[in-house]
């Protein structure tokens, strides 16, 4: 149905209008803000490349969250899993000094996947074994992971030559993902695209993907069909966390080059919006992530040009969610225009 495809676009337009009204109410000219955001993000090659840089972790963590959503598991914890992945990456760099870039990067990725997966697994096991609400556990684990990373950054792993700044020493060149064409776009972009393809493949064409979909659509029916719920919850949460962990690895190995506090400015939370807006469609995840990347880079632009706090982007994100949710109404009800009969 055409309406199905038009609906998300309509709701995003409505959201931009809604956010514009809100911005105007808050004393900011929405037209000036939108224009500055658009120019900053898409007005130059540099801006565009920066959007891609932001899109990379968003796509990867969007896939992570989307994977769990497919089974109606709420992984609110991608943020924490990103931090665990980054922490493990930094650990691998610290303890394995290899000059071979390939083996170094491989070790870092494996470490990140295991750490992120483990972090997701905790919530998965609690859910599977004792039916503990995963929304709260994943959320709490976010804070634990962020503080854990801070412990190492402020404590034992702090760079002694950083003049008191809390950060680990910079990674050696062998532990960095290559960047393309004088931009900051790094190899993570390939990982992001490959992950989207794998996501599509697994969900659509494998037995496990079928099980995930079945449980997501109707857990009771799936159980009668002999699909084990508990085992799938643990596995899905492991994979979801592992992918988010990989987002942490690509972010610090590709972009930041060291572990520092605030390494993820809420990518894990934005990923929830992305997975939700994309309606779990793999291509949708790429499109929505790009859109969110535009918002983030645009947000940084208006922060510099108009001196607005970076958090103002969250006003727009919140409005997008509100309007998409309100448009749900049209998904459930069809609007009929009934003309009065003449006699």
């Amino acid at each position: 149905m055409i309406f199905e495809g038009v609906l998300p676009v309509l709701s995003v337009l409505a959201a931009l209008f809604l956010a514009g009204v809100a911005l105007m109410f808050f004393g900011v000219s929405p037209l000036a803000a939108y224009r500055a955001m658009f120019r900053g993000a898409l007005g130059s090659w540099y801006g565009f490349s920066e959007v891609l840089v932001k899109t990379i972790p968003l796509v990867i963590s969007g896939v992570a969250v989307g994977f769990a959503f497919r089974m109606k598991i709420w992984n609110i914890g991608a943020e924490g899993q990103i931090y665990m992945g980054a922490l493990a990456t930094a650990a691998a760099v610290r303890f394995l000094q290899s000059s071979s870039q390939f083996s170094m990067l491989l070790a870092m990725a494996v470490a990140a996947v295991i750490a992120g997966g483990f972090w997701g697994c905790i919530a998965g096991v609690l859910k599977a074994r004792w039916n503990v609400n995963e929304v709260i556990t994943t959320l709490m684990l976010n804070y634990v992971a962020i503080h854990l990373a801070e412990y190492f950054i402020y404590g034992p792993w702090r760079d002694p030559s950083s003049l008191g700044f809390p950060m680990t020493p910079p990674f050696p060149p062998s532990a960095r993902l290559p960047q393309f064409l004088d931009t900051r776009v790094h190899l993570g972009i390939v990982a992001a695209i490959v992950l989207v393809l794998i996501f599509r493949l697994v969900i659509r064409w494998t037995r496990w993907g079928f099980e995930i979909r079945a449980v997501g659509e109707n857990p009771k029916a799936a159980e009668y069909a002999g699909i084990r719920y508990g085992r799938n919850v643990v596995m899905v949460m492991f994979v979801s966390g592992a992918i988010a962990g990989l987002a942490g690895m690509t972010e610090i190995a590709g972009l930041q080059g060291r572990l520092q506090p605030g390494m993820s400015p809420g990518y894990g939370y934005t990923a929830i919006i992305i997975a939700w807006l994309a309606r779990l469609n793999p291509w949708g995840i790429i499109i929505v992530s790009f859109f969110m990347g535009v918002l983030l880079v645009g947000g940084e632009t208006i922060q510099v040009i108009m001196r607005l706090p970076l958090a103002s982007v969250q006003v727009i994100q919140g409005c997008i969610l509100f309007s998409v949710l309100a448009f749900e109404f049209f998904r459930n009800y069809r609007v009929l225009l009934v003309r009065k009969e003449r006699n």
């Binding site: 609690l126 039916n131 959320l139 958090a311 103002s312 969250q314 006003v315 749900e328």
Partner: protein, 309 residues
């Protein structure tokens, strides 16, 4: 005792904003609606309360404004989750995002300003009681109001007719409709009041705790409040315990750091979150063993009159 009394008093102080938010969320969830937007509501409350107090000089105006602002924002959540039947988790996240963004955008000119705010009003006689007095009765008026609110809510929820209706609509909206009451109206009402209380909790932060406004100043207390509602098994009296426990860990952490021990701060800071998970686990294990847990049966499930079977 000299070491512990200030910590306990600080636990009450820093637990109070969490307590307000938890009490509000208990009302909302008892009616069957889950509002994950507490963090955003608290920030909007902290900001709006501060702004009005700064321009009028009267912190009570700030509290009232925060309450109204909280009600207004929760109206959106109520509309989406009750009328549209949308996903409440996403709607709650949207409230948090919007509130975080709007408060920092609006509050950018308020940063660095200070207000006298609420000051301590020791209660005569009661504050003279050793240990108890300084811990519970040497605070600002908002703390005393929160005590009253706890007693009121326990009485209201468990011993009055409207309280019974509230529990009923959270358990089974169909039954409430059959009783001739409107499940929709009840859910709207309690979602809005609950949001208002969360917003007042945020206002406590800026009016009595720090006496200034800062971007994101609630620092995750809204999320802790949501966890405490589960910890309290939706009972206002147990929410007091949970809120003060969390406040106490926060206060303790400051003291230990001030005492100059080498215990790393981040490790202490993650304790409340780990603790929440453990409490959740214990509750869930009990539930699994068939031990009756007094939780709202239709929590988070949208209700539509058209679909009742």
């Amino acid at each position: 005792m000299d070491f512990f009394v200030p910590i306990l008093a600080a636990a009450v102080r820093s637990g109070t904003p969490i307590l307000y938010a938890s009490l509000g969320e208990i009302l909302t969830e008892r009616s069957g609606v889950q509002n994950l937007g507490l963090e955003g509501l608290m920030l909007m409350g902290a900001f709006s309360g501060f702004t009005v107090t700064y321009s009028t000089g009267n912190p009570w105006f700030g509290v009232v404004t925060a309450f109204i602002v909280g009600i207004a924002i929760s109206l959106v959540h109520a509309f989406l989750s009750v009328s549209v039947g949308a996903n409440q988790i996403v709607s709650g996240l949207a409230v948090t995002m919007f509130g975080t963004g709007a408060s920092s955008l609006l509050g950018r000119k308020m940063i660095g300003l200070t207000i006298p705010g609420f000051s301590k009003v020791p209660i005569p006689f009661l504050s003279r009681i050793p240990v108890f007095g300084p811990v519970f009765f040497e605070h600002d008026p908002l703390v005393y109001i929160s005590y009253g609110l706890v007693f009121f809510l326990v009485w209201f929820i468990f011993y009055t007719r409207p309280g019974l209706n509230l529990r009923a609509v959270g358990e089974s909206p169909v039954v409430v409709d059959a009783m001739g009451l409107s499940a929709v109206k009840l859910r709207y009402f309690y979602t809005m009041i609950g949001g208002g209380l969360a917003s007042v909790g945020g206002a406590y932060m800026s009016l009595a705790y720090t006496k200034m406004w800062g971007e994101g100043m609630t620092a995750g207390r809204g999320w802790i409040a949501i966890a405490i509602v589960i910890f309290a098994v939706w009972h206002p009296a147990r929410a007091v315990l949970g809120a003060y426990l969390f406040g106490g860990v926060g206060a303790m952490q400051l003291r230990i750091q001030a005492a100059g021990t080498s215990f790393p701060a981040p490790v202490l800071m993650m304790m409340p979150y780990i603790f929440t998970i453990l409490v959740l686990l214990v509750i869930s294990i009990k539930k699994g063993r068939g031990i009756l847990i007094d939780s709202p049966g239709s929590l988070g499930i949208p209700y539509s009159r058209e679909e009742r079977g």
